[in-house]
C-alpha cells in the first residue's frame, strides 16, 4: 500500500476568542478583564487521502472545513493531533512542501486587480521557479481547458466573477501542485460556469494524478466529482465513505413518482403523499417497503409511468445535520 497523500489523525483546533456583552459598560470591563472562551473548531477528526483521490469535504457553515483546509495548507497551527501532507508537516511551511500544494479560496483573490492575469501568472512563474518550458506547456494546457485565451490580456477588474475564478484557478495550478485544496471554488457562479469548473477539476485530477480535497455547498459539484465524501459537523467527523453509502445510511425513505390519469385517487394507504400535480403523485415510502409498494401500485392502479428515486442529496445532507443537531 502506498503512503497516503494526506494524513490527519485526531486533529484539534481550538480558537481562543475574547467575548463581551454589548454596551459601553461591558466594553470598559473588557479593558480591564478580558473574558475568553475556547471554541473547538476542529474536534478530533481523522482521515487519510490516497494519492490521486478526489474527496468531497462537507459540512454546514462553521463545521470546521476551512479551518481544516488551513491546517492542511500550513496557514494554521493545529492545537493538537497529527497532520502530514505528502510526508511534510504543513505548519513548518517548508518551501518544498509549498511548491507542491495549492489552496483555492472561492471568496478570496490572489490575482493583482489592476493588471491582466497574464502578468500575475508570470509573477507566479518566478515565485515558484517554474522552468520556462514547463510554464509554457502548463499555461497552454490551462488556457485550453479553461478557455482563457480571451481573458489573459484584460485587467482583472474588468473580468466577470466567473472569468476571474477561472483565472484564479489557473494561477493556483501553474506550478502543477500534487495536492489541491479547493474551498468553495464554484461559489457565486452560474450553473454553466460551475459545470465548466467541475469538468476542469476532474480533468486536472485525471491528467496529473493530483489529490484533491474539495469543499462545496453545491451538491452537484460533489456528486459529479467525488465518489468519497467526508462529512463533519461541529468539528467532529460524522461520515467518511462512499457518497452512495451516505445516502443509504441517512435515508430511511425512498421516493416513488407515479403518473396516473388525474389526482382523484387516494394513495394514502401506499405511503406518505408528498404532492400531486396533474396526476403525478410523489410518495415517500420506507426504504424496506419500496419493492412491495411498487408492486401493489402497479397491480392496483392504472399506472402510466412509475419511477423510484433516492431522495435528493441535498435533502440527505440536511437530514444528517438535523439529526446531529437535535
Amino acid at each position: 500500500m502506498t503512503s497516503p497523500a494526506i494524513h490527519i489523525h485526531d486533529l484539534h483546533k481550538i480558537y481562543i476568542v475574547s467575548e463581551r456583552e454589548a454596551g459601553a459598560i461591558a466594553a470598559l470591563q473588557s479593558l480591564v478583564h478580558r473574558r475568553t472562551e475556547k471554541i473547538p473548531a476542529v474536534d478530533g477528526i481523522s482521515f487519510d487521502l490516497a494519492p490521486g483521490e478526489i474527496v468531497g469535504f462537507l459540512g454546514p457553515n462553521g463545521a470546521g472545513k476551512t479551518t481544516t483546509l488551513k491546517m492542511l495548507s500550513g496557514l494554521l497551527y493545529p492545537t493538537a493531533g497529527e497532520v502530514t501532507v505528502l510526508g511534510y508537516v504543513p505548519s513548518k511551511r517548508d518551501k518544498a512542501f509549498l511548491r507542491q500544494i495549492t489552496l483555492v479560496m472561492g471568496q478570496r483573490n490572489q490575482l493583482v486587480w489592476d493588471i491582466p492575469p497574464m502578468d500575475s501568472f508570470e509573477l507566479n512563474r518566478a515565485i515558484y521557479r517554474i522552468p520556462t518550458a514547463d510554464y509554457r506547456h502548463t499555461l497552454d494546457e490551462l488556457t485550453e481547458l479553461l478557455d482563457l485565451r480571451p481573458l489573459l490580456r484584460k485587467p482583472v477588474r474588468n473580468l466577470s466573477l466567473g472569468e476571474r475564478m477561472k483565472c484564479e484557478i489557473a494561477a493556483a495550478l501553474l506550478h502543477r501542485p500534487q495536492v489541491v485544496f479547493l474551498d468553495e471554488p464554484t461559489i457565486g457562479l452560474d450553473v454553466t460556469m460551475q459545470r465548466r469548473i467541475r469538468a476542469f477539476i476532474a480533468e486536472y485530477n485525471r491528467r496529473f494524478g493530483a489529490t484533491v480535497l474539495l469543499t462545496s455547498h453545491y451538491m452537484a459539484d460533489v456528486e459529479a466529482l467525488c465518489r468519497r465524501v467526508v462529512v463533519i459537523h461541529h468539528g467532529k467527523l460524522l461520515f467518511d465513505g462512499d457518497l452512495s453509502n451516505l445516502v443509504q445510511k441517512f435515508t430511511a425513505h425512498k421516493t416513488i413518482v407515479v403518473q396516473l390519469e388525474d389526482c382523484s385517487a387516494d394513495l394514502r394507504s401506499y405511503g406518505e403523499v408528498v404532492s400531486c400535480v396533474d396526476g403525478l403523485f410523489t410518495l415517500r415510502v420506507p426504504r424496506a417497503e419500496t419493492a412491495h409498494v411498487t408492486e401493489r401500485l402497479l397491480a392496483d392502479l392504472p399506472v402510466i409511468d412509475l419511477l423510484v428515486e433516492d431522495s435528493p442529496i441535498e435533502e440527505v445532507i440536511e437530514r444528517v445535520f438535523a439529526q446531529e443537531g437535535s
Binding site: 480558537y15 488551513k70 496557514l75 494554521l76 493583482v112 489592476d114 493588471i115 508570470e122 509573477l123 518566478a126
Partner: protein
C-alpha cells in the same frame, strides 16, 4: 540568486503595470511628497531672512539646499508598508503570501524600488524647479557625494527593515494607527525632517545620534551637502550598518513570531 533576480524583475513589471493604471494618484502622492518639505523650506527661509540671514549654522540659501535635498532623500527612503499591513492581514492577502515558497519581504522590496524608479524623474524635475526659485547654496565636496551613494542605499535599507518590522505589529493588534502615529512623530523630529538636527538642543542631538531616525534621512542629506567631516561620514555609515544588521535580526524575529500568532488565531 538568478531565480531571485527573476522574481525581482517580475515584481518590477507587475508594479510598473499597476502603477501606470493610476497616473493621477501617482501625481497626488508626489505632490504630497513635495509639499511637506516645501512648507518647512518656506518657513525656515522666512525665519532666517527676518533674523539677519541665518539661523544656527544655516544661511537662508543653505536652508533651501537642505530641504530640497531632504525632499529627495525622503522620497528615496520612504515606505508605505506600515499603512498597508493591517489591510493585508484583515483582507487575507497575507494568507496567499504565506502559501508561496518565498519570503514576502522580497516582493515588498521590489515593489518599493520599482515605484521609486517611476517617480524619481518627476521628483528630480521638481527639485530643479525649486532650485531655480530658491537659489540654494551648498559646498560641493566630491568625496562626500561619492560616500552619499552607499549612505543612501543603507538609509533605504535601514528604514525599510525597521518599518517592515514595525508593520508586523498588525499581527497582534488591529489598531496599528496609534503606533504608526507615534513613529511618524519621532521620525519627523529626530530624523532632521522638520529642521536640521544641529538646530536642536544638545540633548536631542545626542538622542538622535543613538536612535536610528537620523541615519535614515538627516545623515545622507548632510553628507550630500558637504557639511560633514570624513570622520563623521565614516561614523555615520558605521551607525547605518549597525542599525541595518539590527533591523535584519528584528525582521527575522518579528516575522517568525508574527506568523506564529497569525497561525494561532486564524488566517
Amino acid at each position: 540568486m538568478k531565480t531571485l533576480a527573476d522574481l525581482y524583475a517580475q515584481q518590477f513589471k507587475t508594479t510598473f503595470a499597476s502603477m501606470l493604471q493610476y497616473r493621477a494618484s501617482l501625481v497626488i502622492w508626489m505632490i504630497a511628497h513635495v509639499l511637506e518639505p516645501l512648507v518647512y523650506l518656506i518657513v525656515w527661509s522666512t525665519v532666517s531672512s527676518t533674523v539677519g540671514g541665518s539661523v544656527g549654522d544655516y544661511t537662508t540659501r543653505e536652508f533651501a539646499a537642505y530641504f530640497i535635498v531632504m525632499m529627495l532623500v525622503n522620497h528615496v527612503t520612504y515606505t508605505w508598508i506600515m499603512y498597508e499591513y493591517e489591510y493585508r492581514i484583515r483582507e487575507g492577502a497575507l494568507s496567499f503570501a504565506l502559501l508561496k515558497p518565498v519570503h514576502p519581504i522580497h516582493s515588498d522590496i521590489a515593489d518599493n524600488i520599482s515605484s521609486k524608479l517611476i517617480t524619481l524623474p518627476g521628483m528630480l524635475l521638481v527639485a530643479v524647479g525649486l532650485a531655480l526659485m530658491f537659489h540654494p547654496a551648498a559646498a560641493f565636496v566630491p568625496w562626500a557625494i561619492a560616500a552619499a551613494v552607499p549612505a543612501l542605499l543603507l538609509a533605504f535599507l535601514l528604514r525599510f527593515l525597521l518599518e517592515w518590522s514595525l508593520a508586523q505589529v498588525a499581527f497582534w493588534t488591529t489598531r496599528v494607527g496609534a503606533i504608526n502615529h507615534t513613529y511618524f512623530v519621532l521620525i519627523l523630529f529626530l530624523s532632521g525632517q522638520i529642521a536640521p538636527l544641529t538646530l536642536f538642543p544638545l540633548p536631542i542631538q545626542a538622542a538622535a545620534a543613538i536612535l536610528p531616525f537620523r541615519w535614515m534621512i538627516g545623515f545622507p542629506v548632510e553628507l550630500l551637502l558637504g557639511r560633514l567631516t570624513a570622520n563623521e561620514a565614516l561614523t555615520g555609515i558605521a551607525a547605518q550598518v549597525a542599525w541595518s544588521i539590527l533591523g535584519l535580526v528584528l525582521v527575522r524575529i518579528v516575522w517568525r513570531a508574527g506568523v506564529r500568532a497569525y497561525s494561532a488565531v486564524g488566517a
